[in-house]
Amino acid sequence: MIEWTDDAIVLSARPHGEGAAILQLLTRRHGRHAGLVRGGASRRMRGVLQPGNAVVAHWRARLAEHLGACTVELVQNRWAQWFDDPERLAGLDAICAVSEASLPEREPLEPVHEAATAFLDHLDAELWPVLYVRWEIGLLGALGYGLDLSSCAVTGETDELVYVSPRSGRAVSRRGGEPYRDKLLPLPAFLLGKRAPTHADFLDGLELTGQLLRRHVLNPANRDLPPARLRLVDRIRDSSTISMHSDTDQEVT
């Protein structure tokens, strides 16, 4: 019998058979991991198996390659307080959906779990979309497609970095990027720590990480960004409550 106990974030639970559910978890030491939860469709468990919840999971199976059975205990209900906040609920939904769609199964990526926990714990921050974009950049890094924003990939300049190359993930300056501007992705200035983010910056940031996730992680596996992530962009685009700060000192990062 193989078994472990680990901290985890619930990503999704799909009903399986009459009473069970197949749970997808983002665990601290075992990566994205699935398991069968007996009685997972029950009234008692349904509230526990909601995306974003922090749980302690106990997984056991006879052989390592089995799906395995999972029991979970709720540590923190993370979504109930965002019930009435469509933007933050969309953020929570998106981080779970993107984790499930892009992370390889059972590959331990502790920083991703750590960063996701930090994001969910700081969802009350005013600039939570910044944390979200930063989390996706971290995710790309953990998957081997990190951004390099230190200097321009064409000219070597360190000033006026305004683009990112979708191929290499390296920054490109305004001058160096001029001939290829149609192919480059805009680099929001807040990622360089130079300016407090604006509403448009959030969208640029989401576009940047979204395109890179598509290109490097999801499209090769014949997948696209999950619907929850697309809805997050729509939400932020239409949102009037997400603040546009002019105060440079309020950087959350």
């Binding site: 209900n77 009435d84 609920l89 779970c96 999950p226 619907p227």
Partner: protein, 201 residues
């Protein structure tokens, strides 16, 4: 070897929720023993329903007539539409007999991963219904889950320009519930949507 009719019945019954092969055998045996009182009426009832059941083209409820009995009922309040995920939810609210208005069954919720989008749910039809002059309120009675609430927020956005009041069911302490046994999510929701004591509506 071809299955006998009884075996076939057992196999079919075993596919119902809550029944396995063993309980299906028991049920079939019971039906056969009480042929006149149970088996014949059941067979007729099932045949009738199989012929006449249809989905209401207005609200998505299932009934033997289209529009369904609720949509036809002249006594019901046509200014309120209650949006539910599933027919089971509609039945649950109907059992309370405390809601006099109309319904709208979505047929599911927006899914984070599985690609159930707005076009797969009856959301456009709901928007169409609310544009009728008599509708003044839409009650979103989706489940208290992340998907249910995401769907509710989406619908409330879609209805933003139509001028109808959009409300949702309260979340909190169940009637007869003890605080000590409540999960912290429910308690958080209950605290957030507390209301003034003695205030009417």
């Amino acid at each position: 070897m071809a299955l006998s009719e009884v075996d076939r019945l057992i196999q079919l019954l075993a596919r119902l929720p809550g029944l396995g092969p063993r309980s299906a055998r028991r049920a079939v045996l019971h039906l056969i023993k009480r042929r006149e009182a149970l088996l014949d009426p059941l067979a007729r009832a099932m045949a009738d329903v199989a012929v006449s059941i249809r989905t209401c083209s207005t609200c998505g409820n299932i009934d033997t007539v289209d529009p369904c009995a609720i949509c036809r009922d002249e006594k019901r309040d046509r200014s309120v539409i209650c949006v539910v995920e599933d027919v089971a939810d509609l039945w649950a609210i109907e059992r309370t007999s405390s809601y006099p208005g109309q319904y709208h069954v979505l047929g599911g919720t927006l899914s984070a991963l599985d690609g159930v989008g707005p076009e797969d749910l009856r959301i456009d039809r709901l928007v169409g219904r609310t544009s009728a002059a008599e509708v003044s309120e839409v009650i979103l009675a989706t489940n208290a889950t992340v998907e249910g609430q995401t769907t509710a927020h989406y619908i409330s956005d879609r209805l933003a320009g139509t001028g109808v009041t959009v409300s949702r069911l309260a979340h909190g302490v169940p009637v007869g519930g003890e605080l000590d046994y409540l999960d912290d999510g429910t308690l958080t929701a209950a605290l957030k949507s507390r209301r003034r004591l003695g205030a009417t509506e």
